[in-house]
Symmetry: C2
Subunit: 275 residues, 2 copies
């Protein structure tokens, strides 16, 4: 099935981390100036002025707040560490409610010195522990499976199948998944697992996979610079009924070193041509 | 089930690429001096003196030749490229037969500018095309699934499930899989897929996953330096009946910059303690 190009910016959302050198205020100014519709706010961008002032700035901007990044990091070696992680997720839920973000993206966490199964169990337990508070606050949680190259220390949830398993086991309309093409493009079961996720797909992230990728963390490509057929994956996601934001999340030392306003123009063009 | 430590070096095999600064002659001298039992020869190490002289050197050494690395890289944009890849695999089969290697490890290949499904189809076709010649030469082929971070340009086969699917579809006793802990440790279905592979596991590679991993290619850790429970995975592999070599394959700019004889002592100690 042919997937149509995105013909305007009405679904374009940008992550504050994509323009990391900018403060929240600069990001808001920059995004609104060029017609971006939505913003996903990273907690680092909230910190300087706090969630209350951030909420006011976001409300005044007219930008749609798509999600807060990021909760998660549930695993820990000790009960104390795991309790601290839960507290941090509770703060994230409060922050999301304050800024009007309907969703928190979960980077689930992993501890290299313990077995993956143990981290995976602690993730499911952690989500179950904070979910009632998310529900009370009206904030959804989206499990974002991370690329297997992050299984050591960032997330023990590395495929859509694993995320779907957790979502099905817990069974709340407030728990779903975040599909990020960078993490998932290689998976031969991706189309089937997107279909399985169905209405539990809460958000959709795009960027590209460069060849070569020069750094495990901060060398993501602009859409069209790499090998991911983003539009095809978007088609699979939209076949489930998803019509939400297409969020541009690029970590790139190369782009962060450039003029961010010029980078934003490149993002707009790449979004229309390749997403 | 508790897995026993390896109590001697009778199953220790080292890849020539692990000691990349050494020529084949230097590697043979170094390995035999410290009691290593087997060698997996990379084709780069054969090239300077050619396969015939290499065969004589290997025979004289008493080292067991475990495998030849590497065949594969079947996908190509054009029929000409794919035909060249088949020719190169045929040369690899001849080289393996010449040096007495019973196995060629296949790094299957991928082309970033074509869909993964297309590369996967070309891989299956390529294996089927050269398998009769491998059978005639008495050389087995082992499909090595590579970590998903190499799906763009090195291998579109990224899980044991995919490798098992190809092996089952082709159905020859000369086609099997190579299990490398570095590529596969993160996979939640690894134990099940190792069990499924059963007697088709032809070889077993070890190293470790460092946190942080500073380079996508050349920052593998010595066993025990990272987060992989190597012994547990070896236990799964041995439950299938596998009792072959435990092959140390480490690509590391850090270790390649050190004295290779001293590195070899570290490998021996790490092998006994952590493999």
């Amino acid at each position: 099935m042919a997937v149509h190009a995105l013909k305007d910016l009405s679904r374009l959302c940008i992550h504050t981390m994509t323009t990391k050198p900018w403060s929240l205020g600069q990001a808001i100014d920059g995004y609104t100036r060029v017609g971006v519709s939505g913003i996903t706010v990273w907690r680092q961008a909230l910190a300087p002025q706090g969630p209350v002032d951030s909420a006011r700035m976001l409300k005044d901007s007219g930008l749609k707040v798509v999600s807060l990044c990021r909760g998660g990091f549930f695993p820990g070696r000790t009960a104390t560490e795991r309790a601290a992680a839960l507290d941090d997720n509770r703060r994230a839920i409060e922050e999301a409610a304050t800024i009007g973000a309907p969703l928190i993206v979960l980077v689930c966490g992993a501890v290299p010195s313990q077995p993956l199964e143990e981290s995976r169990k602690q993730i499911a337990d952690g989500i179950a522990a904070v979910l009632p508070e998310a529900e009370s606050a009206g904030v959804k949680l989206g499990i974002e499976p991370l690329h297997p190259m992050y299984a050591d220390s960032r997330s023990a949830v590395n495929t859509m199948a694993q995320a779907n398993d957790i979502v099905e086991a817990i069974g709340s309309p407030f728990l779903g998944v975040t599909v990020d093409v960078f993490h998932l493009w290689w998976d031969p079961s991706l189309q089937a697992e997107i279909r399985r996720a169905g209405k539990s797909i809460f958000s959709f992230h795009v960027c590209d996979w460069r060849t070569p990728t020069r750094d495990l963390l901060n060398d993501r490509g602009l859409m069209g610079e790499g090998c991911i057929d983003i539009r095809r994956i978007r088609g699979w996601v939209e076949e489930t009924g998803f019509d939400g934001a297409v969020e541009v999340e690029i970590f790139s030392d190369e782009y962060w070193a450039q003029d961010q306003a010029a980078f934003l123009e490149k993002i707009k063009a790449a979004y229309l041509e390749h997403s």
